[in-house]
Symmetry: C4
């Protein structure tokens, strides 16, 4: 099967998920200061920006991974579905985090851990897809080689980071989790999929 339709379906899910995020931004009805009312909604705006960035970065990497393929097989379609499940859940865990981040108690830790779990799920989905491709090089375009162990490990950084974050949310601080998650997101802005100088 060619890659075109799984790309189109995935693009649709990414596009809907990234656009639905705006439904969490509500125009506040106030008779006082509008600027003040919007400022009170800062967790919603921060959550919106973080989730938009995450889904955007994930889309770019999804693009880079499937760009290397000449065809897909049925198991890869289901691994990709698993990855999309994590994407679809991101708006939910984001609004959960936004709702509790200002709380000082353990609820914020739980919300941060759940947000982190969704990112972990997403990272696992990416691992399933890319490892399946590595061990089925017939799916690759001619001239493309499976990744080296070093490349595999580098791309698996997210899995390790998200697992490490889980206890930190309870031991240290939910905001630290957000900071680490943001750093991991920034790490994936740089291309971690193609080898250096591999062209594209």
């Amino acid at each position: 099967m060619s890659t075109s339709r799984v790309e189109a379906f995935s693009d649709g899910v990414f596009a809907v998920a990234i656009t639905l995020l705006v439904l969490d931004l509500r125009a506040p009805l106030t008779s006082g200061s509008l600027i003040g009312a919007l400022a009170d909604e800062w967790p919603e705006f921060a959550a919106f920006l973080i989730s938009f960035t995450f889904i955007g970065v994930v889309w770019v990497n999804h693009h880079a991974i499937f760009h290397r393929l000449a065809r897909v097989d049925r198991p890869l379609l289901f691994f990709n579905l698993f990855l999309l499940l994590a994407i679809v859940v991101i708006p939910f865990v984001t609004s959960l985090f936004a709702l509790y981040v200002a709380h000082a108690d353990s609820q914020a830790s739980v919300a941060a851990a759940l947000f982190n779990c969704a990112l972990l799920l997403m990272a696992i989905g990416f691992q399933l897809c890319t490892l399946w491709i590595d061990y089925h090089p017939a799916l690759l375009k001619s001239g493309r080689a499976p990744r080296s162990i070093a490349q595999q490990l580098r791309f698996a950084t997210g899995v390790f980071a998200y697992v490490a974050c889980l206890p930190l949310s309870f031991i240290v601080n939910p905001i630290l989790v957000l900071a680490i998650d943001g750093a991991v997101g920034a790490f994936y802005i740089v291309d971690q999929v193609s080898g250096r100088n591999a062209g594209d």
Copy 2:
């Protein structure tokens, strides 16, 4: 007419329907235990997972069916629309089921039966599409043959199972319906469309 645009439109409907499911997950506002509040929402989470899986499996099978086609005709476009109608309804019957599954009385049976009806509608839509294709082999790519009677019956399993489920919801138990529906979904994860060794 080529298959590309009907695939694009169907992919769009699948993508929106599968992503809209997340709108039924609501971040609970509680001053008590967040974990407890989320646990109370288990029917919503279960319904979300079941519907996501169902729509995902349906998409993979839709993909496999249209992948065999070289072109589409106008009646097939309308049979496909009928199938999409069932897909669009799934988020609604899912949230209905989630709302009543915890009730012990006959309402849960009604909700399970309606959920089951949507799946039956979907299975009928698939039958309309695939049987139309079988009797119009000019739509197939060159080298593809219409399905054998055995393949037709095997793919029609869902219709029989969903019809059989309808009375069970009232006689036995709505949860049993869900279990059978889940088993049917798992059955369709395995490729029931292409013949064995038919390549793809």
Copy 3:
């Protein structure tokens, strides 16, 4: 400019609009009969089915029109946007109609007239697109001819019918409007775009 991207964007709008319709179906929370509570929602279900069918038929005809094109120009992109505006409005006028159809007074007439106006807008959008194409045959695929006057008039049936319906909503009955609109929709299920035997 090739037709592929305007088709993809239009497919996206059609797919989102047709799937958003389900958001108007709400799982009723009742301690009485669930069947009864759902039966009370019959206007929502009827409106859902009518709008789904309308958008579906419009998509098939949109498909047939753009299938004849080799390229698009900038004015056609804007005429197509006008058509999409009417599509996007359909879920709104549908829920308006569903809300007032059971009222016996003049409000139902107003709601029916507004529903009808959206369909008229859509028909005008189709006319703008198809007439523009007729007078710019360079947009057509080689071997395709502009439509005859007879074909143009036949395809313009909807415009005349929707205009005629507007006063009927107030003079006779809003339900009559719905019946006529339904008949017009059924008329367009049959191919009114390509000439007979024109192949496709």
Copy 4:
């Protein structure tokens, strides 16, 4: 990387954003005059039309820009994401504007300024994309040349206009801002991307 997938993803975001706008139109429940109740909602309808037009015009220009490209690189994907962020925000600032436009006080000025900021963000996103392409002509299709300075300045009109509008919202009138923004939108209906006679 070819342009097809970034176009498909962008088309998805445009299609969802333009269709989500209809969710802000609510069927009013009134026992009085339905026409009157709808007339009271005029800011919602005006905002809907303005935002639909803006997103539509932006889509046409996005189409014209990417149509000139033979390939995309990773930075351009992220500049495009930035542009899409502005698109996704438009439904939110639109409903904010609709909520406060009828207020005579400074709140309407704040809402107009925020609406204007989203348009400015969008114009900056367009500048990032087009300037990146100008300085990386290897991305262009063969036979296409980077824009002249005159073309660059002409396309940058929006940035200057939106910046100039910001203080006007507070000094003069929020409605003036809307009028200027509308004029800028109309300016971009005419092709400001391709050079004259450049064909397409």
